[in-house]
Symmetry: C2
Subunit: 301 residues, 2 copies
């Protein structure tokens, strides 16, 4: 097993200003760092989007978590608030492609019923071991893979500026609300990831399972709209709240305001998630579709 | 039984710009009015807060649903966007105290787990019959009374500008999200209220139960804060999502960020609601406390 030690970990809260759990946790850890401190690496804590937090909105000018592609970071003409914050954060934790940070953990909430989800935008032995370790220590965690569609340079997520990066995504919680259970799950998943890094660094990983289940993003579905791009329907109640549950071809996924059902017209079983996420309404996004995937333990190859 | 017929009913959506169910329903009914039309009265449909809807926020300048006290309506120095909208709406549906509208139904969503709730800010035979009728036809409805604390003149809610007024409040749904089930419950409760008015007007009410259960607002609880008014805790997960469920003296209701439980220090059983409502964070409000109440059928006196 290769073992490039992780020298430092950055934990980021408030990338979106109305996702409160990460903001409160990072602010708490800034005062009481014991639970995020380990022997084998340094821990850095960062609040990302101050102005958005101030106004309790996802963002002020544009979505900060879409500003971290290499092209955007290198484009000096992009200078609004979030585009500027992205460049500052990249300087602090990156720079992307040659990063001084071993692992970036970006803390997010969703209004969707996703439970505690580990979102992995890249792959490799380190991530596969982490995914198996995390699910072994916290079986309710869902691993969500999105590594097939873009190179790391193209990925626009904040966490991609580290040597490694993951998103801790926990829901359901309305925007601007702090939920005890959701906050506990976020704290617990962060703790387990840090424990994993500590064990990884010191070659003391426990015996890990041969494989673990995961979901892989395929594509997004948009809400039904009319010719003027006005919505004419909503997510069907049979799907609402059923993130990562199977939907078969022909099952209803939307209900129009005049009472018609629109059914899933694909050919294969899919597993929707980010169902009815409030932040995605700007783009009329209704849900992300996934397939099932399996992550094999790379140590057993 | 007195029977002052209701000549017209106004159904209002979008008093808060990020509570989508009422906005979509009123817009739908503006195009297809069959389900809200009855023989014995006129139905008027109104979208209340256009600018807040445009920006997908509760309000632009101040909470529209707090601008309808007689004092505010008569104070010409109050001239921001919502204060102006309040005066226009009062002219259109009121005026308060001498209203041309028999019943105002104001449609709202909450992030709290309140299910379909009928909020009654005044009392009288008409409301008592309505409450019993609605619960007889839709038993999942909770009746929430808040008539003890203010005169109708003092009440600042939009629905108080009618001769009668109620709020249809349905949750849980995040701000800015349209949920199929919540929207259906709102449409169904509105339909049942209109059916009640139709039967009331035509002296054809069915045999109504002798009484029905309800909850009565006592007071609000605020989140725990430090000396700088910064929150130091959150609603305890044992209470979160348990709207209208009993809390006994000594049971935990808050959890501080440093891990302590804060317990309910009252002497009597209470029933919290509007638990962790996102919109009430501005004031650090954590929940409203209620007692149980019983509404007697006034026809049986």
């Amino acid at each position: 097993m290769s073992n490039n030690k992780i020298g430092n970990v950055a934990i980021v809260g408030g990338t979106h200003g109305n996702e409160l759990a990460g903001i409160y946790l990072v602010n708490h850890w800034l005062k009481n760092s014991t639970t995020v401190t380990r022997e084998s690496f340094e821990t850095q804590l960062l609040i990302a989007n101050h102005n958005a937090i101030e106004v309790n909105k996802r963002y002020v000018d544009c979505d900060l978590n879409r500003q971290f592609s290499a092209a955007s970071l290198n484009d000096s003409s992009l200078g609004n608030y979030e585009q500027s914050r992205a460049k500052v954060i990249n300087q602090q934790l990156g720079p992307k492609g040659d990063s001084k940070t071993g692992l970036v953990i970006d803390l997010h909430n969703t209004t969707s019923n996703m439970g505690p989800t580990l979102l992995v935008p890249q792959r490799g032995e380190f991530y596969d071991l982490m995914a198996i370790y995390v699910r072994q220590h916290m079986p309710e965690v869902i691993v969500f893979l999105d590594e097939d569609h873009k190179t790391n340079d193209e990925h626009h997520l904040l966490c991609t500026i580290g040597q490694h990066g993951v998103i801790v995504e926990v829901g359901p919680v309305p925007q601007g609300v702090l939920k005890h259970e959701v906050t506990e799950q976020m704290a617990e998943m962060t703790k387990v990831i840090l424990d994993f890094v500590e064990a990884y660094n010191s070659d003391s990983l426990p015996e890990l399972n041969a494989e673990t289940d995961a979901f892989r993003f395929i594509k997004s579905l948009t809400l039904p709209v009319d010719e003027n791009n006005h919505r004419i329907g909503m997510v069907h109640k049979n799907v609402e709240g059923s993130d990562f549950k199977a939907v078969q071809p022909g099952e209803p996924i939307f209900k129009t305001f005049d009472g018609k059902e629109i059914c899933y017209d694909g050919n294969e079983t899919v597993y929707p998630t980010f169902i009815n996420e409030a932040a995605y309404y700007d783009n009329n996004l209704a849900m992300s579709l996934c397939t099932k995937a399996v992550i094999k333990n790379p140590s057993l190859k």
